[in-house]
Symmetry: C2
Subunit: 233 residues, 2 copies
């Protein structure tokens, strides 16, 4: 990950002096730089190519497409996720790790959205996966349940980030929220009685409260659901 930013042969390509030769890592580095300075929406092929003083087409030798590139960027960011500390009850440590993961995703909901379709496979993601699996094992959850449960837990964290994350630079999202509120308030009680009855309860609570509750539901559910009991239908 920190290896060949410095190629052995910095000879001039064509007539330009000291052009550092393209690399997958170099591309991701440039992307991270742009991300930090100008936000995700500016992390574009042409923008990166400009930084590396080349054309956009050149990047496609090292990067399959924009999604692939963003996946690399996400995994780099996942380096900030705090893996399970050694002390404390497993359940609260599990909550902590997933909260940390969500916090990272929260900064860039677009990346979270992307990681929904393109399953992450970077080193940092594997570390997270491994950590969560370890905590589940510590909690006495059978391996078979843990194997499926970890997917549930990580997906939930991702969904939370996608749904409640604040977009990059713009978006007043007060728009979104008030629109939803009004939508719910003006629902026809004849047609949708249950929605009308619950009303604003549907939107109650802070994002954090709902996240912790959801985590609680998932962990409790995993603890109480035997995978071998799939005999009904």
């Amino acid at each position: 990950m920190s290896s060949n930013t410095f190629p052995k042969v910095p000879i001039s390509r064509r007539e330009r002096p000291a052009k550092p030769a393209l690399t997958r890592v170099g591309i991701v580095d440039a992307a991270l730089m742009i991300l930090a300075e100008e936000g995700l929406s500016k992390v574009t092929m042409r923008r990166i190519a400009a930084v590396l003083d080349t054309g956009a087409a050149s990047l496609y030798v090292y990067v399959r497409n924009t999604e692939d590139l963003h996946a690399q960027v996400l995994d780099a960011l996942l380096g900030e996720v705090k893996l399970p500390p050694v002390a404390g009850p497993w359940r609260s440590r599990l909550t902590d790790v997933l909260t940390s993961y969500t916090a990272v995703l929260f900064q860039y909901p677009a990346l979270a959205r992307m990681s929904m379709s393109t399953h992450p496979s970077g080193t940092n993601y594997l570390g997270l996966l491994n950590g969560v699996l370890g905590l589940l094992r510590e909690g006495g959850i059978p391996d078979t349940d843990a194997a499926w449960g970890v997917d549930l837990l990580l997906s939930f964290a991702t969904v939370t980030a996608v749904e409640h994350g604040h977009e990059d630079p713009l978006q007043a999202d007060g728009d979104d929220f008030s629109a939803l509120t009004e939508q719910l308030a003006t629902v026809d009680a004849e047609v949708f009685p249950h929605i009308a009855r619950l009303g604003n309860d549907l939107l109650s609570g802070t994002g954090e409260q709902r996240f912790r509750w959801g985590l609680d539901v998932l962990i409790t559910g995993i603890l109480h659901t035997q995978r071998t009991s799939s005999k009904e239908l």
Copy 2:
């Protein structure tokens, strides 16, 4: 919502004869037609505009952007979701409804992905929401829990569709799967012991099996988790 597909004045606009005047509904109809015939990837602004014999820019009067358009299309498709039948135990009916919802989303994972960020608000989605809320009430779940739980359940269904859905026309996804398998097989057991230990168990089961198990976990978890017990921490 089903009103003005037939404008009162079909007089010729400019010199062209009988151009039916743009409408939000008309645009969505055209989109649905293209979707059925050529797949979602061809449902583009310019393509729709071509069908309606106009320019892409004209559509933006009735549709905020592509996301908005796709949201409309999705809600139209959600008309196919089978709402709760009257008979049977609530839990199996709940599973049926969510399975039906997932089945629709499965056909167009891109739409599912989109509905992740842009919260749906169409009539058909509200009907689904209302139906699920009714079933949760029938199951004796407190309103406050149901209000948060329905979000969990629908999100889970969406995530399932996004993750395991087969893309539109292309994508052999055997690539994806074998890549993941190999990735997991070649993981360093020293660095990621838990991943190495579980190995292919992480990918075991069919999509349907995992979906049903996940649903079970969620429902069980909701039944066993009191929202008022947030006193820890």
